[in-house]
Amino acid sequence: MSVRIDGREFPADGSILDAVLAAGIDLPHLCKDDNLPAIGACRTCLVEADGRVVAACSAPASSVREVLTTTERVERIRRGVLELTAAMGDPRPDLPHGPCGVQARQTFAAHAGVSNGLSRRERTAVDSTNPFFSFVETACILCGRCVAACQQLQHIGAIGLAGAGLATRVTPGASITFRESICTSCGSCVAACPTSALSPKTGGAE
């Protein structure tokens, strides 16, 4: 079984995103963690599959025949999503070869520090109560990877995405600090964060 990606045939293994990345194509996938099932929240891994715009992370490659990653339409819509993401605050892509990809890096860089008057975030909390990491909310894009790592990978459940709509925020416990929560400082959330909202404290415990 194979799938045609940007004009070339590749094995249709796993999701469309798996096949696209295996083909060496750069595609942002902010909420898809290698160690976790797809979340489908960031909507940045958009491709055109058999004429429809779909999130590549959650569609099996075997369910489609032709995938195009660079049509004018899908590039335009993906750029729109990345601009909405950038306008949430100050997301900072972390690893050079991480899930942001070139397009997200460029979009975030272009929007860094630029107030476009549309950002409606009041999420400016900083939680440094944990000895090993800090949470800087302005960099958070609510992708949900930290929560999935805590709940589904580690089975701890120290954090959740409290609230709905624009009021959604990453929150330990029932509105308490990381130090007061059941967090075991395992670091999985920090490793999962694609935008440095959760980042290790340098120099070890304070």
């Binding site: 958009l46 959650s58 335009r76 949430m88 959740g160 609230g163 709905a164 624009l166 029932a174 929560s181």
Partner: protein, 485 residues
């Protein structure tokens, strides 16, 4: 044999416990949610993220405030918030706009036109007996041949959905959706308050044919009257023995109309959509193959088995047979529930409802916040599944909100844009970040910025509700561009 709710994983107790605590105290404190999390044996952060996602729950004491509805029909009827009144979402009593105060049983006089669904309630179980006597295979074939489609808004063929779950060869969960959270729709409340036994017969037939391990009925948490009527009917003598459902009050939110969100709610998880695949018929409630049907769909099942598939096909269209419950409200002389054949012309429904209150009808919202506004030039359209206009108007759950010469079309469009912005569950970026911005651009008459954003939210959002959020705006920009310049 059906499992009792107690035999489901313990986290399924979360929503019923939250609802009960909220009912007792009027709000939820971090301490009470912490205690409930312990009872349901889930981490506090998970209980907290679920609890704070429901629209009906308060997290500070709302003591002493009267409540006023802010739904579209009440807005059209001139509802204005007075000092000291708590602003609520739609109260789903659009037939008596402007609605105030607590939930009331659906009044019989607002059943304006009755067909087989809203005929006097069933007194025997003839439909169930027929389903039993013809045998399971023949009964399933009869559902296929009746052409019955789901009435929740998507009109998926019921026979095909059921076949998908049965093909899994594993114990099935049946989830009955009475969460009804769309402004301008109140027909599930009418059915449950006034014809609960017809719904129960439909559930009994489904239980007979699907042999589910679990039957859960989710009733909108604020529809107290509907839930009490259902529970009274369940306690009445002579009920079929195969009906022992778990009745769960919901926590509110338009997003609960999305099937996988409803499943997360039942599992004690944050009410947000899941990814598909897997589809609920493959892996739904706690991994079971799950059939989710609207209460109106199940009531139709009762009708189809009482009268037979051929009789069922005698009304409606070839592709979508049967009648539909239309919830008609807004600036119309006789608001209420109208049971009419699918395929009826919009103009005829308006006429049956007595026409406009003042002057003529200027616009009709069909399909609510996911549908569109139609101008008078479109009133000849047949109300059947599929799009009614290229901008996205559709029948959906059957809500028709009528605007007349006294109505402010622009304000109504802004109300729908605001609803979609406020009801976004927040899971995916395009809908969470984009729908509030659509409202901003609309307010600012910035059509140049709005158009590309409509494309992004419509194409990139995770679930159907986000994908359809641009529809009311698209239709308004098409028919009344001058109002947004």
């Amino acid at each position: 044999m059906q499992l009792s709710p107690e035999s489901l994983p313990r986290r399924a107790r979360l929503l019923p416990l939250l609802h009960a605590e909220h009912g007792r105290r009027g709000w939820l404190s971090p301490e009470s949610v912490t205690a409930i999390a312990r009872e349901a044996r889930i981490p506090v952060a998970e209980a907290w993220e679920a609890a704070t996602s429901y629209r009906d729950f308060h997290f500070e004491s709302p003591a002493g405030k009267a409540q006023v509805c802010t739904g579209l029909s009440c807005q059209l009827a001139g509802a204005a918030t007075e000092a000291g009144e708590a602003v609520m979402g739609c109260r789903f009593r659009c037939y008596e706009a402007p609605a105030r105060g607590h939930d009331q049983p659906f009044p019989e006089q607002f059943i304006r036109e009755a067909g087989p669904l809203l005929a006097p309630d069933v007194t025997d179980w003839r439909g169930l007996e027929r389903a039993r006597s013809v045998g399971r295979e023949a009964a399933l074939a009869e559902i296929e041949s009746s052409g019955l489609r789901g009435r929740g808004g998507a009109y998926f063929p019921v026979g095909r959905k059921w076949a998908g779950a049965l093909a899994q060869n594993r114990p099935i969960a049946l989830v009955v959706n009475a969460e009804e959270g769309e402004p301008g729709v109140f027909k599930d409340r009418a059915l449950l308050c006034r014809r609960p036994r017809r719904v129960l017969e439909g559930i009994a037939i489904a239980a007979e044919l699907l042999q589910p391990a679990v039957v859960a009925i989710v009733v909108n948490g604020e529809a107290e009257a509907a839930r009490m009527s259902l529970e009274a009917a369940l306690a009445s003598p002579g009920l079929p023995q195969n009906v022992d459902p778990w009745v769960v009050p919901g926590g509110g939110g338009y997003i609960l109309g999305e099937e996988t969100t409803l499943l997360n709610a039942l599992e004690g998880r944050k009410p947000v959509p899941r990814l598909r695949p897997p589809y609920p018929v493959e892996s739904g409630l706690f991994g079971m193959p799950t059939v989710i049907n609207n209460v109106e769909t199940l009531a139709n099942l009762s009708v189809a088995f009482r009268d037979g598939a051929a009789a069922f096909r005698s009304s409606g269209t070839v592709d979508a047979p049967g009648t539909k419950l239309f919830s008609v409200s807004g600036q119309v002389r006789e608001p209420g529930v109208y049971e009419l054949p699918l395929g009826i012309r919009l103009a005829e429904v308006i006429e049956r409802a007595g026409g406009a209150v003042s002057g003529s009808v200027t616009a009709v919202l069909t399909g609510g916040p996911s549908g569109g506004f139609l101008a008078p030039s479109e009133f000849g359209v047949a109300l059947a599944p599929g799009v009614l206009h290229p901008t996205g108007a559709m029948v959906g759950a059957g809500g028709l909100v009528v605007l007349d010469e006294s109505s402010d079309v622009r304000a109504a469009v802004l109300a729908m844009a605001r609803f979609n912005a406020e009801e976004s569950c927040g899971k995916c970026t395009p809908c969470r970040e984009g729908s509030p911005r659509m409202l901003d651009f609309l307010r600012e008459n910035d059509a140049g910025s709005l158009e590309p954003l409509l494309e992004v939210v419509g194409a990139a959002s995770l679930c159907g509700l986000g994908q359809m959020a641009p529809n009311p705006l698209r239709s308004a920009l098409h028919f009344w561009p001058e109002l947004f310049r």
